[in-house]
Symmetry: C2
Subunit: 155 residues, 2 copies
């Protein structure tokens, strides 16, 4: 059985914000998160993949109750960046598989994504570390994804 | 002083792989990570931001010594996906700020990114959780980024 995975979590209370076409230069992430911190907004998961052509995209999650305030701050901070596009998803479901040594146990990621796939759940965002692997899915998929992960990891 | 941040780490021994234009449908992430797991390859940081137009990008890091094997497996698994593009960076520097409650302390992300910005370091990828915030930067920026983070967090 899977003793490396200690817990499976479903967090249905966050929202996701995405900023596309940020200038991919030093200081931009700092500007964004300084603005968000000024709003006392808790940022949970930040995801940025590599940029292309001098532009980068950035997504992060916040408590749903902070979304409006967050968007207000972001509109202001992204205003000087002409091409930047702000978008958001008010309802998301965040699934997390937690444990220790999740990367040295090469099977955990595979199992997590297979469990989600078997449940027909599309993975929208991924963010992982050695102790927590998280996937964002549509809110309507949250429960089914959670059940599938529980079965997979017998957590 | 910052008691919430317990440690700053520089990991100069990983490589980054990116797959662009993956079909954004259930089962794709599972396929990718099953293939990688079959190669016994340790995946550290996985980052996937939201897709667009039915396509998604996915990046992850592996030990540099596993890069060639990883690319071999990925070429095979992505072959059926016509538009998928594989790219990689053999040398990266991964900076991590570690502690507890990193998201509830709204200042930590802001400080981390400001420290990197002040050092003139461009952030290529971001992956965060409550206990670890990681940024991938160019290998030539690794030491300077590390020094700047140490100063910021007096860790
Ligand atoms: C996009 C953003 O992360 C930028 N590369 C920065 O370093 O701030
Ligand atoms: C791109 C990949 O994550 C896909 N959305 C999946 O669910 O497998």
């Amino acid at each position: 059985e899977d003793i490396v995975v200690s817990e499976v979590q479903l967090d249905p209370d966050q929202a996701r914000v995405t900023i596309r076409n940020l200038p991919d230069v030093p200081g931009v992430a700092a500007h964004v998160f300084t603005a968000v911190a000024e709003g006392q907004i808790m940022v949970d998961m930040i995801v940025q993949d590599v940029g292309q052509g001098g532009l980068a995209n950035l997504s992060f999650t916040v408590p749903r109750s902070d979304l409006d305030q967050c968007l207000l701050l972001l509109r202001e901070v992204t205003e000087p960046w002409a091409g930047a596009e702000l978008s958001f998803e008010k309802q998301i479901a965040k699934l997390s598989v937690m444990g220790i040594g999740l990367r040295s146990h090469t099977g955990v990621g595979e199992k997590m994504f297979r469990a989600l796939a078997d449940a027909g759940v599309n993975v929208q965002l991924i963010n992982t570390s050695e102790i927590r692997m998280s996937a964002i899915v549509a809110p309507s998929d949250g429960q089914r994804a959670y059940d599938s992960l529980i079965r997979m990891f017998r957590a």
